[in-house]
C-alpha cells in the first residue's frame, strides 16, 4: 500500500483501524497491553484490600467516603465511555466532524470526573487530614485511586492531542488506529473505575 493510499484513501473501508498491517498490529498489541494493565491494577487492588483496615484515628472508609460525589463521578465516567463509542461509530462511517464532537464531549466529561476527584482528594486532606502518609490505608487508597486518576489524565491528553493533530485532515488509514486504541484505553479506564467504585467505595461504606 503506498503512502498516498494510507493518508488519502479513495474509499474508507468498514474497519479503517484494521485496514493496514500497522493498524492490525496496534489493535492486537494494545489488547495485550491492556492485559498487562489489568495485572497492574489487580496488584494495586490486592494491596488495597490487604491494607484498607489499617487506618489511624477516625479516618476509616465508613467515616470518609460519601457516595453522592462518587455516584456523580461514576455517571460522568460511564457516560464518557458511551460517548467515545459514538465517536468510534462515526469514525467507521467516515464522519469526521461528528467524531470530533463526540470525542470533545468525552473529554469534557472526563475533565469533570478529574475535577471532582481532585476536589475529593483536597477535601480529604484539608478537612480530615487524611493523607498519603497518615496510615497504610491512606497510602493504599491514594495509590490505587491516584493511579486510576493518572490514567484518566493521560487518556485525556492523548485524545486531545489526536483531535488537534488531525483536525484539518479527517480520517485516514494512518490515524484511524490511533483514535481507535485511544478509545480502547478510555474504555479500560472506565472498567477499572467500576471496580474502584465497588471495591473501594461501596465495600468501604457498606
Amino acid at each position: 500500500m503506498s503512502h498516498e493510499d494510507v493518508l488519502n484513501p479513495k474509499q474508507l473501508p468498514h474497519d479503517p483501524e484494521k485496514a493496514t498491517l500497522e493498524g492490525k498490529n496496534k489493535f492486537v498489541g494494545f489488547w495485550f497491553f491492556l492485559g498487562g494493565e489489568t495485572v497492574l491494577f489487580a496488584c494495586l487492588f490486592g494491596t488495597y484490600l490487604a491494607l484498607n483496615r489499617s487506618t489511624s484515628g477516625d479516618n476509616t472508609p465508613e467515616h470518609l467516603f460519601g457516595l453522592e460525589l462518587v455516584f456523580i463521578m461514576t455517571m460522568l465516567l460511564l457516560t464518557s465511555s458511551l460517548t467515545s463509542v459514538y465517536a468510534m461509530y462515526h469514525m467507521k462511517n467516515n464522519d469526521f466532524r461528528k467524531m470530533q464532537i463526540w470525542l470533545g464531549i468525552t473529554v469534557i466529561l472526563g475533565l469533570g470526573f478529574l475535577g471532582f476527584e481532585i476536589y475529593e482528594f483536597v477535601h480529604y486532606i484539608h478537612e480530615y487530614e487524611f493523607t498519603f502518609r497518615s496510615s497504610a490505608f491512606g497510602s493504599a487508597f491514594y495509590t490505587l485511586v491516584g493511579f486510576h486518576g493518572g490514567h484518566v489524565l493521560f487518556g485525556l491528553s492523548w485524545i486531545v492531542a489526536l483531535m488537534i493533530r488531525n483536525s484539518k485532515r479527517g480520517i485516514n488509514l494512518y490515524n484511524a488506529p490511533k483514535f481507535y486504541i485511544a478509545s480502547l484505553y478510555w474504555h479500560f479506564i472506565d472498567v477499572v473505575w467500576v471496580f474502584i467504585f465497588t471495591v473501594v467505595y461501596l465495600m468501604g461504606v457498606v
Binding site: M1, S2, H3, V6, L7, L21, K24, N25, V28, G29, F32, F33, G35, G36, E37, V39, L40, C43, L44, G46, T47, A50, L51, S54, T55, S56, F132, R133, S135, A136, F137, G138, S139, A140, T143, W158, A161, L162, R165, Y174, K178
Partner: protein
C-alpha cells in the same frame, strides 16, 4: 536507504545508525553487546564473592561491600545479563524463523532496548555515588525500606526503567508472532524457539506489572513517605514478598523457556531428525508457562502462610516437574538414532540435560514444604538455583550463541576454541555448585559475609571457589573465541549447519529486509521440507515487489534518556527538593518525545523492486 549507502560511512555515522536503528538484527547486536558486558560485570562480582568465601573469617572485602556484591550480582545477572541476552536471541532469530521482514513494532523494539540499557546503567551508577543496593536481589522489606543511603533507591529506579523496556519487548514479540507469520506458517509449524519466545512473552506481559507495582510501592515508601511496608503505621511487609514473587517466579520461566526452545532446535538440527514429540513439546512449554504463575508462594513457605496454603503451592510446584520431564525425554528421543554431530552448540546442549535435571530434582526437594524449613536460606538453595540458571540458562545461551552466531554475524565461531571454553566452564560449574548443596545441608546460611573455622565448611568453600575460577577461565576463552572469529575466520554461506528452519534459507547475515520474497511454508521444518524434495531454497509466496520498511528514529533513545535523568531527580529529591528540577526536565524530555511520536507522521519507506533485483545479483535471494 539502500545497503550500498550504509557501507560507505564513518564511525560517527555508524554510531548514529545504532542509536536510531529499528532493525531487529541490529537491536539484537545491541542487546548482545550490552548484555554481554553486564554478564562480565556480574561475573566479576561473583568472583569477588567467591574469593571472600575462599577461607574462614576472610577479610578480603568488607561486610557492607559484600552485601552490595551479592545484591548486585543477582540483580545484574537476572535483569541485565540473562534477560537482554535472551532478547538478543529473540530479536536475531524469531522474525527470521516465522518469515517476517521485521517485528510488529520496530520503534517499540528500539525503545525496549534503550530503556533496558539506561535502567542497567542507572543501577550500576550507584557504585560511584555512595554505595550500591545492599538488601539482596529480592530486596525484601523492611530491610530494604530502612537501608541507609541511596543504594536501594537505585535498585528501584533502575529496575523500574529496565522493567518497562522488558514489558514493551514482550508485547512486541507477542504481536510479531500472532500477526507477522509468513503464509503457511501455522502455529503448529512454528519452530520450538519461536513457540518458547511466544510463551515467554506472555509470561513477561502478565508477570512484569506485578514488579512494576511492587517497585512503585517501594519507591513511594522510600522517597515519598508512604507506609505500605511499615508495620508501625499499619503497613505489611509481606505484600512486597508476594508482589516480588508473583513477578519473580514466572521470571525464572521467562529465563529458561527460550533456551528450552533453542535446545530443541539445536538437538533437531545436529541429530538430523525432526524434533521428537513436537506437539507434546509445545504442550509442555505452554503448561510450564501456565503453572509458572501458580507457584510463587513456594519462595515463602517459612513466612507462615499456614499448612493449607503451603501444601497447595507445594503440590503445584511439584507438578511442574511433569512437563519438564516430558521435555527432557523428548530431547533424548530426538537424539536417539539420529545422525549426531558433536559441534560446540551440541556439546553445551548435551551437558545441559544432566546439569539441569539435577537442578530440577533439588527443585522438587525444595518444593516439599516441610523439608523446605530445613533448606530455606541455606546454600542448598544457592546450589539449586545456580544449577537451573547456569546449567540451564547460561549453558543454553552458549549453545544458542554458537548455533546462531553465523546467522547474526556471517561467521562460525571457532569450534576448537568453543570446545576449549566448554570444558573448564562445565567442570568448574559442577565444582562450584554441587558442593554448595552439601554446605547448605551442613547448615551454612546464604548471604553471610564470613563462615567460622572448625565447622567443616572450609574444604567445600575452597572447592567452590576453585570451580568459580575455572568458570571464569571458560568465559575468557569464549571471549577470545569471539575476537578470534571476528578477525580471522572466513565468511560462511547462509546455511552452515544444514539447517531445517526458515532462518537458514537466507544469507548470513541477512539483508535488512530479511526475505526478498516472503517464503511459502509447507510444513514443520520448512527448509527441510524443500530440501527433501530436492530444492535448494524456499518457494516464494509472492511476486517480487516493493518492500515496505520502517524508518529509523532517535526518539526511543530520547525517551529513555529522559527517564534516566528523571530517575536521579526522584532519588535525590529526598535530600533536597531542588533535585525535583531533574524530574521535570527528564519527564519533559520523555513526554515530549512521546508526543512527537504520536503527532508526527511516520509511514516508513519502500525499497524498490529495481534495488532488490540488484541485491539478488549479489546473492540476497539465497
Amino acid at each position: 536507504m539502500s545497503t550500498a549507502m550504509s557501507q560507505n560511512r564513518g564511525l560517527g555515522a555508524a554510531i548514529w545508525d545504532y542509536l536510531t536503528t529499528v532493525d531487529h538484527k541490529k537491536i539484537a547486536h545491541l542487546y548482545l553487546v550490552s548484555g554481554g558486558l553486564f554478564f562480565l560485570i556480574g561475573g566479576l562480582e561473583a568472583m569477588l564473592i567467591r574469593i571472600q568465601l575462599m577461607q574462614p573469617d576472610n577479610n578480603f572485602i568488607s561486610a557492607g561491600l559484600y552485601n552490595e556484591m551479592i545484591t548486585m550480582h543477582g540483580t545484574t545477572m537476572i535483569f541485565l545479563a540473562a534477560m537482554p541476552l535472551i532478547f538478543a536471541l529473540m530479536n536475531a532469530v524469531v522474525p527470521l524463523q516465522i518469515g517476517a521482514r521485521d517485528v510488529a513494532f520496530p520503534f517499540l523494539n528500539s525503545l525496549g532496548f534503550w530503556l533496558f540499557l539506561f535502567g542497567g546503567i542507572m543501577l550500576n551508577v550507584s557504585w560511584f555515588t555512595g554505595g550500591a543496593p545492599d538488601a539482596g536481589w529480592t530486596n525484601y522489606a523492611p530491610l530494604s525500606t530502612v537501608s541507609p543511603g541511596h543504594g536501594v533507591d537505585y535498585y528501584v529506579m533502575g529496575l523500574q526503567i529496565s522493567g518497562a523496556g522488558t514489558l514493551i519487548g514482550g508485547i512486541n514479540f507477542l504481536v510479531t508472532i500472532v500477526n507477522m507469520r509468513a503464509p503457511g506458517m501455522t502455529y503448529m509449524r512454528m519452530p520450538l524457539f519461536t513457540w518458547a519466545s511466544f510463551v515467554t512473552s506472555t509470561l513477561i506481559l502478565f508477570a512484569f506489572p506485578a514488579l512494576t507495582v511492587g517497585l512503585f510501592l517501594m519507591m513511594f515508601d522510600r522517597m515519598f513517605g508512604s507506609v505500605f511496608f511499615d508495620t508501625a503505621a499499619g503497613g505489611n511487609a509481606i505484600i512486597w514478598e508476594h508482589l516480588f514473587w508473583i513477578f519473580g517466579h514466572p521470571e525464572v520461566y521467562i529465563l529458561i523457556l527460550p533456551l528450552f526452545g533453542a535446545f530443541s532446535d539445536i538437538f533437531s538440527t545436529f541429530s538430523k531428525k525432526r524434533l521428537f514429540g513436537y506437539s507434546a513439546m509445545v504442550f509442555a512449554t505452554v503448561l510450564i508457562g501456565f503453572l509458572g504463575f501458580m507457584v510463587w508462594a513456594h519462595h515463602m513457605f517459612t513466612v507462615g502462610m499456614g499448612p493449607i496454603a503451603n501444601s497447595i503451592f507445594a503440590v503445584a510446584t511439584m507438578a511442574i516437574a511433569v512437563p519438564t520431564g516430558i521435555k527432557i525425554f523428548n530431547w533424548m528421543f530426538t537424539m536417539w538414532g539420529g545422525n549426531i554431530r558433536m559441534t560446540s552448540a551440541m556439546l553445551w546442549s548435551i551437558a545441559f540435560i544432566p546439569s539441569f535435571t539435577i537442578g530440577g530434582m533439588t527443585g522438587v526437594m525444595l518444593a516439599a514444604a516441610a523439608a523446605d524449613y530445613q533448606y530455606h536460606d541455606t546454600y542448598f538453595v544457592v546450589g539449586h538455583f545456580h544449577y537451573v540458571i547456569v546449567g540451564g540458562v547460561v549453558f543454553g545461551l552458549f549453545a544458542a550463541l554458537h548455533y546462531w552466531w553465523p546467522k547474526m554475524f556471517g561467521k562460525v565461531l571457532n569450534e576448537k576454541l568453543g570446545k576449549l571454553a566448554f570444558w573448564p566452564f562445565f567442570i568448574g560449574f559442577h565444582l562450584t555448585f554441587f558442593i554448595q548443596h552439601f554446605l547448605g545441608l551442613m547448615g551454612m546460611p546464604r548471604r553471610y559475609w564470613v563462615f567460622l573455622e572448625g565447622q567443616g565448611l572450609e574444604a567445600g568453600n575452597m572447592i567452590s571457589t576453585i570451580g568459580a575460577f575455572l568458570m571464569a577461565l571458560g568465559t575468557i576463552i569464549f571471549i577470545i573465541n569471539v575476537v578470534y572469529t571476528a578477525v580471522k575466520t572466513e565468511k560462511v554461506s547462509g546455511d552452515p549447519w544444514d539447517g531445517r528452519t526458515l532462518e537458514w534459507s537466507i544469507p548470513s547475515p541477512p539483508p535488512h529486509y530479511n526475505f526478498v520474497q516472503t517464503p511459502l511454508v509447507r510444513g514443520l521444518d520448512p527448509l527441510w521440507v524443500e530440501k527433501s524434495e530436492g530444492k535448494k531454497g524456499m518457494t516464494p509466496a509472492e511476486p517480487l515487489g516493493d518492500i515496505h520498511m520502517p524508518n529509523a528514529s532517535i526518539l526511543p533513545f530520547m525517551m529513555s534518556l529522559g527517564l534516566f535523568i528523571a530517575g536521579f531527580g526522584f532519588i535525590y529529591q529526598v535530600d533536597d527538593k531542588g533535585w525535583l528540577a531533574l524530574v521535570f526536565i527528564g519527564m519533559g524530555i520523555t513526554l515530549g518525545s512521546m508526543l512527537t511520536r504520536s503527532l508526527k507522521d511516520d509511514l516508513g519507506h519502500h525499497i524498490h523492486k529495481a534495488d532488490l533485483e540488484k541485491d539478488i545479483e549479489k546473492g540476497a535471494g539465497q
